[in-house]
Symmetry: C3
Subunit: 209 residues, 3 copies
Amino acid sequence: MPDIIDLSDLMHAISLVAVAMMAAAGVLEAGRKRFDLFGMVVVAVAAALGGGSLRDMLLDRPVFWVADQTYLIAALIAALLTFFLARLFTLPARLFLIPDAVGLALFTITGTKAALVWGAPWLVASFMGVITGVMGGILRDVLCNEEPLVFQGTLYATAAWAGALVFLGLLSWPVDAGLASVLGGLLIFVVRVAAIRWSIGLPRFTARL
Amino acid sequence: MPDIIDLSDLMHAISLVAVAMMAAAGVLEAGRKRFDLFGMVVVAVAAALGGGSLRDMLLDRPVFWVADQTYLIAALIAALLTFFLARLFTLPARLFLIPDAVGLALFTITGTKAALVWGAPWLVASFMGVITGVMGGILRDVLCNEEPLVFQGTLYATAAWAGALVFLGLLSWPVDAGLASVLGGLLIFVVRVAAIRWSIGLPRFTARL
Amino acid sequence: MPDIIDLSDLMHAISLVAVAMMAAAGVLEAGRKRFDLFGMVVVAVAAALGGGSLRDMLLDRPVFWVADQTYLIAALIAALLTFFLARLFTLPARLFLIPDAVGLALFTITGTKAALVWGAPWLVASFMGVITGVMGGILRDVLCNEEPLVFQGTLYATAAWAGALVFLGLLSWPVDAGLASVLGGLLIFVVRVAAIRWSIGLPRFTARL
């Protein structure tokens, strides 16, 4: 069945891109702290592999980067490349938000899909997608001792969840899985970038306690 | 075997209550921060499902909320309900300590029981109960950037451990499992509430370093 | 096959020592905070068992301390012993760095070995060794609300990774597994202690952002 092989090859390639994006975002953020080279690499790798690892442990499937060395290598190469680019050129301060948004979109959709394939019900699958997309960034921010982006109100987890739900909705309509993935992922990226650009957020909540 | 079905139905219901309690406590604490609506829901769900997830991953059994959508739904409903109640009424500042204590008691006993059923030795089972009870709250406090309640010296983990050990002791006496659960859980709740009410704590320790 | 039994007995003994060392380091660091007795024990146990737990969950094998009570007991005894010693004698402030370095060395090598035995490729195995060695200390520092030692630039994760790679290199040369373990572990300990003693570190990196 060449179709399935092609699809899983494509999934693999997309996951590699997502891993590389998250690693680059990790370096760009860690670079603002005074970490040593290796500490920076650790943050980048944790950011790149953290979300998917948690998803796989929760689903009780083999963790995606353990049996397959390419993910770790992609994270390392992306981290080192970003490191040297950042030394050569002066990069805009919030540049890391772009690879972060791409990584968020790719990870959320692949995470939702993985949970669906595993047999999780749709609400769980959408939540698993959010975890996959969001967890790496949370880990990066916690290790960098920054307040997590997720809670800064610019539609971070919200964008991920909306994209996951749209993806699931399109699938059940039914739209082709590939198209549904692209539309769901695009929605996440666009919402996220728009939210950053125009500082859109959900209304914040303060309980009268 | 209607007996087993009944028991596991009861366990299920109790777990749902514990999940809802922890979600409510999460919203009440997150509400004091200026999180957006979704960030608050994330904190509530992490608090509600975190402890049991870690327990199940450590025991290498299927994570309890992945195959069964009801837990996630219970957490979401409890979070939204608490959210709207907190907007309508002015709630006392430390109200979240009550659902937190109920959740601690229920999670500790169900966690200990789950580890026993899995075949863990008693000391490990009691520790697994403490993890189940305590981890959700730690996660909530870390995400809210508060110092974890666990370490604030008012018999948090201590109450959980005492309850787990009493439960295990009663079981081996042998007392009926249901009665042992109730007594162990009640002990946790009473010790915890008394510790908050009268600020009882273990003697604090400072090493002469 | 007495050889295999002996080897796994030795591995068991070494793991127990590593667990005890990390627990002692946890108490010595938690002792500088005003934790209560039980909070301190929780930090010590988390430090002692955290790294290996994450490794086992990532490798999807049974978590090492769940089926075998001795690890938990070793951690508890080491924690209580250190606690009473620290009350009797005035201990030098940075004493905890020595058991920490021993634990780092032992955990890194056993973690690398466990991943290899499981069938992980070499790069993943070395990284798994670093996680096993480093994670307990990160957990301890996060729970103590200290900036993680790992990121303080004195060759913490770097020493672990170097030792893991030397161990893997010697194995493939091939050198006897026992000798390779000793040499790899010794390297980690020596590099780490030298780095602390003479404040050696990797050049720190600040991106021009």
